[in-house]
Each structure stands twice: as structure tokens, then as C-alpha cells.
Subunit: 114 residues, 3 copies
Amino acid sequence: MIERIETNARMSQAVVHNGTVYLAGVVAADLTQGVGAQTKEVLAGVDRLLALAGSDKTRILRAEIYLADIKDFADMNAEWDAWVPAGAAPARATVQAPLYTPEALVEIVVTAAV
Amino acid sequence: MIERIETNARMSQAVVHNGTVYLAGVVAADLTQGVGAQTKEVLAGVDRLLALAGSDKTRILRAEIYLADIKDFADMNAEWDAWVPAGAAPARATVQAPLYTPEALVEIVVTAAV
Amino acid sequence: MIERIETNARMSQAVVHNGTVYLAGVVAADLTQGVGAQTKEVLAGVDRLLALAGSDKTRILRAEIYLADIKDFADMNAEWDAWVPAGAAPARATVQAPLYTPEALVEIVVTAAV
């Protein structure tokens, strides 16, 4: 049994299988913002997709964070740290990698328990 | 129970556990080709490994795509979109990252249900 | 049921769910070392976290390796190949991506069966 959420011809925003949900990489819609505001929007997008899958941010297993420029590490972390639930922080990895357009500054890929 | 497929001293091409198959990053064998042809070869390699694991492209949970140059995004997508089964597109994330040799233009890492 | 290991306000070093453990990206503590010594320290860190999760290196499903400079591929592989158990090599993907600080040369993200 595989459940797909917000599926189009290219990708699904989330796929659920065997008690685990695999989110697509989430980027901000408003790319005119700085990295802090983009991170906040990305995390709201993660919340939204987790809710659609029957999960929430207390059940994240791992997050992989891509920053277009690693010098944004502290600004991204400020938003991240404010968002992560006390005692339920996931495993995490962060690296620098340019995204599909130079205006996109942060992308987060989440795996969670449903 | 862990099943390993095409295992050598460094890596396996696929590992099956608990109803999920984890593929290695797949790159093209013929690196003289452009990104479109390399993507086509990578996707054929994904098909082959999924078949060995008892899965197929209708059961992919997530794909992580690494492009050596993000300017190849559209050319990669043209092949990807033609390959993805209608209604069964996986979660996906794409970033730019140089691969083990400059001639390798695209690498795809797939997680699928068996 | 989700088990978190070495959890602080930002992240956990490992999270166990449904028979699978998701490690955080592991980097060396001593970043004055070259890539070979850093890789050795990273792999010792992976061993340590897997043990805390009730797993070990014979049960790794996939490893994603980030090198700050892909020219270190051979030096990283020398340590990796010496560490991987015969017949139990995981699926693997390796790309170049700068890490949180320029002195960090290698980061490894492991998923394993418990």
C-alpha cells in the first residue's frame, strides 16, 4: 500500500508507505525573501505536508537540509531551532548545494513516522 | 532480514529490508553522452535494479537527483517526465552537486517499496 | 514508537523507528586532520551510533557520503573499503558538497536496520 499526496506528472509532495512518509524537497514559494524568511516558509510547508500524511513535526526521523550558500547556516538554524519541538529533534544533515534557481536559498527533505 | 544485490567490496547496488529497497546512486556507464542521454541510461539502470529487488517504477517512494550543473535541470526533466508512470510519481528532490568525475552529469538515488 | 539518541535542541544523533535507524550526518571532531584521518574518525562515529541503536556496520542499508572536494574520493575510499565488512557493503552514493565549515572534509549519512 502506497499513498501519494499532491501528485502531478513529475512528482508527489509526499508518499506514505509502511508507516513512514517521504516528503519531497520543500522550497519557499516566495523566493524574493532572505534565507530566514524562506526557512520559515519551508518549515510551514513541511508542517502542512506532514499533516496531510497524518504526521507532525514531533515525528520526524531525519531532515536533510540543502543551503545554496553555507554562510546562511546560522540564519537557517535560528528558524530551525525555534521550530523544532523540545525533546523531539530529528537526525539531521546539512550541506551546501545550489538549488534549481539561484533565488532558492534553502531546501529541506524530511522523512517522518506517520 | 537484509537482502543485498550486486554486492562488491565497496558497495551494493541495492539493499532490501522491511519491504523497502534502497538503491545506490545510479550514474550512466557511457559518460561521453550529454545529460539527456545520461539521464535515460540512469533511469534504465534504476528500472533494472528495481526489477532485481522485486519492485518497479510505479513503487518509488522518493528520488534524490544530483546534477553536476543545475542548468541541465530542464533536459533531465524531459527524460524524467517521459519515464515517470502517470499517477505514480514519487517524492523528489534535485540539487546541484559535482559527481565522482566531471564527465558524470547526473546521479539518481532511489528508495522504493518492494 | 520512536526512539531518539543523543537529542539536543537542534537534532538527534540517531532516531529509531520501525526497525530502521536514521543517523545524523557524522563529521569528524578533529578537523585539523586530512581527509583519510577524518574519514576514519567519521566511521568510528558511525560504529558508535549504530551500537547505541542496537545495530552495527553489517546492517547498513545505505550511506550517503558528502566530500567537500571530490578529489578526495580515493583517499576516502581507502578508509571506507578497509572498514566495510566483506559481503555486507551497503548501497552508497557520493557527491561533492561543502560542509558547515571549510575544515570539515567528509560527512556520512547512514540508514541501517536495527
